[in-house]
Amino acid sequence: MFAFIGRRIGTLFVILFGSSFILYNLAAISGDPREQYKFATDERSRSVLRGLIRQLDLETPPPLRYFKWLKDVLGVFYGRANFGVTRDNEEVITRLAAAIPTTLKLVTAATLTAIFLGIALGIVTALRQYSRFDYVVTFFSFLMFSLPIFWVAVLLKQFMAIEFNNFLEVGYIDVGWRILIAAFTAVFWAGVIGGSKNRIAKVAISAFVLTFGVLTAIVALKWFNDPGLGPIVVFLLSVGIALAVTAISMGIDNRPALKSSLSIALLTFILYYPLQYAFDRYSSWLLILALAVLTLATASLISVLFAKIDQGAVIRTSVITSIGCGLIVILDRLLNTWSEYLTLDGVNGRPIPTVGQVNPLMTTDDFWLVQLDTVIHLILPTVALTLISFAGYIRFSRGTMLEVLNQDYIRTARAKGLSERVVVVRHAFRNTLIPITTIIVVDISGVIGGAIITERVFGWSGMGTLFNKAISGYDLNLLMGVFAVTATLAVLANLVADLLYAALDPRIRVGNRL
């Protein structure tokens, strides 16, 4: 095992060395930062040129310069990493340190949403293979495969930012639109749930009525002027989550699981006002972290109290429920800040921005306002990135699920009389997750360097912006800095994926693979 990892890390260094050497020389021969001063005659340009040559060591031929660069970078191992300076005489490492968190913030939400929705839709389409729902989802996933992201971005800016802000100023949804939205929801859920005609009709009608009712209530209460969920809605949503999670993971007949997840929902309701007080008084990341730990601990404790057998599965159920409830409480708190946010400078009642990563005119340092500001600026890029990337997850998890469903052990599970839920959730879904996990790891590493276009379209300055600057300014050190981060992540992710595969799938032994 350790010999295997050691060998792999050795190969990894060789690969990084090789690819960085190729890129360095490729970039060096393809452009010269001196070019723009080549024919300059005035003294000022000439002194700039001399400074540039000294600063970037341009007299040394590129292959040799590469080894100098490499020597400095390898300083990482004794604590003195030096990635060189950019053209503007800034340390590359400080630029990277500023850019990485921005990119992470940009891509994390999108990646998580894409993974979650993609896997869910992929599995549902696999279970309803060759149904109309499957065809529609397949069509849309191919459509999303084929969309250029900056083209989508223009549409999003128009319809999700400008038009939506216009809508917020009125805050009224026409009856026609309400019916249309409700009908769409009805068709969607009918497709997801499936079954006999009777059941489809029931699902569709209840989804329609529910959506239409909620929309009408929203309009009647002028909800958009001062959104928020309030204790009752938070409670109802928590109960809904508890029921749904229990139904999917353990089955609704499982008493201990049902009891423990419902008591978490009840606890959410009881603690609603104390939580609001805590949120107002001690708002900080520390509080959120402490509450998160407390929530998970309580969830585990409750399930241990209720369940005598199969404790692990019950704990899982209640932990998922508690995460859902916690997110709803936080969402509620953020929405409560909404009306105050609308009045801020630079917002003026038009909250959804088309570009930028923060509201530059915001002066307040109120915790919730700042968080809401971040979230709002993340909406458009997140939707765009999610749309583009989750098509891949849909296709992949659908394919894997179908393959798993055709395995012999699924037939065995059905033959011994297990319910369809147990077959799908416990036997098929878990085995589907194995290849998906490895894909996810590799994807996440790629996403750090892969948001180049998104950053540009939405005016964020992260890794992509650095990269753009490096390419168009022939800034070799900067380019190599960006590359060092993305390439190291890529090879590490491949290693992690292999190890995870071996850990998750007992049929694979690490030593044999390579």
Binding site: I22, W151, N406, G446, G450, S472, T486, V491
Partner: protein
């Protein structure tokens, strides 16, 4: 069919299995591999529709804008080219350069079906937009096909050599692939595009193709690694076939499915890569046009002159979408494992029901 008619009363599982095999073999009876693949492909409606759409588009685009390669010029059927500046068309509402395409017939109260002078409108300085779109789409398609051809060829050869000879050769080649894979395609593309983009779109495509083959070569290698262990390869070797003959006559025809499918996927990725590069300014440079360049130039025109924004975008989506669907159809045709098992399950249920009905009738 005759099998089931004889013994309908007995419902042993073995017989259902036999019936299943009969259906499976009847489906492919007396057909060559190629006929089977074509037949399966034709059953995939979305793929066939996409193939028709893509072919029509390719014909219209290439014949419309004409083919200009160096000094050879074959003019197309569309009367304008991308260089001529035309007088800006004044429309009824006083705006300049608006589209004259009219699709509402007269009897519905429209202006009748006609193309007009500039069906898709004009850009700021009077270029005909249809001519720009035709030429841009032609460029994008050519880039796509060139990348597909070059990357397909290199990837197949490298993968085939690595997979067939295995051992040290495989190790060396695959480590080289690892080098290239660590560099994200958009980084390679940008470095190449920024410095070779001015040589023209075709050179850009050529260089991009030189780097785009890595994923394909891995797949082909995997396929070759498993095929070379099969009995028919041993048989060929015992019969005295040379390595060349085994690779080209025995293994390659069996691996062609994987190759064709991944080349189509590579091409649909390539058209988006070109678009992205042109958007970043590292791709096709003016005065040449490509669809990506058109979108990035007119992305702000969405509210004022939406036709400048919609047409290039929709063209790219239609092209990429149809390539994706064709790839999906090809995968189903070459590798029906996923599909077949499920359809067989369904057929088994149908068959079972039919047999039940018949046994009740008897």
């Amino acid at each position: 069919m005759s099998i089931f008619k004889k013994k309908t009363s007995n419902l042993e599982t073995a017989e259902i299995d036999a019936a299943e095999n009969a259906i499976a073999s009847r489906e492919v009876q007396g057909l060559t591999q190629r006929q089977i693949v074509i037949r399966r492909f034709l059953h995939h409606k979305a793929a066939v529709t996409s193939l028709i759409i893509l072919t029509t588009l390719v014909v219209v685009i290439f014949s419309g804008s004409g083919i200009y390669i160096g000094p050879w010029r074959i003019p197309g059927w569309w009367k304008y080219d991308i260089e001529t500046l035309n007088d800006l068309n004044v429309c009824s509402d006083g705006r300049l350069g608006c589209p004259t395409l009219s699709l509402v017939p007269k009897w519905l109260g429209g202006d009748g079906i006609s193309l007009g002078e500039h069906p898709l409108g004009q850009d700021d300085i009077g270029h005909d937009y249809l001519a720009l779109i035709l030429r841009g789409a032609q460029r994008s398609l050519m880039i796509t096909f060139i990348i597909g051809a070059i990357a397909g060829a290199i990837g197949t050869v490298v993968g085939a050599i690595a997979g067939f000879f295995a051992g040290r050769i495989d190790n060396v080649l695959m480590r080289f692939v690892d080098f290239l894979i660590t560099i994200p395609s958009i980084i390679i593309g940008s470095v190449i595009g920024y410095h070779f983009g001015n040589l023209g779109a075709l050179f850009l495509a050529f260089y991009l193709g030189l780097f785009a083959w890595t994923g394909l070569s891995r797949l082909v290698r995997g396929e070759f690694l498993s095929l070379r262990e099969r009995e028919f390869v041993d048989a060929a070797r015992v019969a005295g076939a040379s390595n060349n003959r085994i690779i080209f006559k025995h293994i390659l025809p069996n691996a062609v499915g994987v190759i064709v499918v991944s080349v189509t996927l590579l091409m649909s990725g390539a058209i988006l890569l070109e678009t992205a590069l042109s958007y970043l300014g590292f791709g096709v440079v003016p005065p040449d046009v490509s669809l990506g360049l058109l979108i990035s130039t007119y992305q702000d025109a969405f509210t004022t002159r939406p036709y400048l924004f919609w047409w290039p975008g929709v063209t790219i989506i239609v092209i990429a979408l149809s390539i994706n669907f064709i790839g999906d159809g090809l995968r189903d045709a070459f590798d029906p494992r996923q599909r077949r098992k499920v359809t067989l399950n369904e057929r088994r249920i149908k068959l079972f029901n039919r047999l039940m009905r018949k046994s009740q009738n008897v």
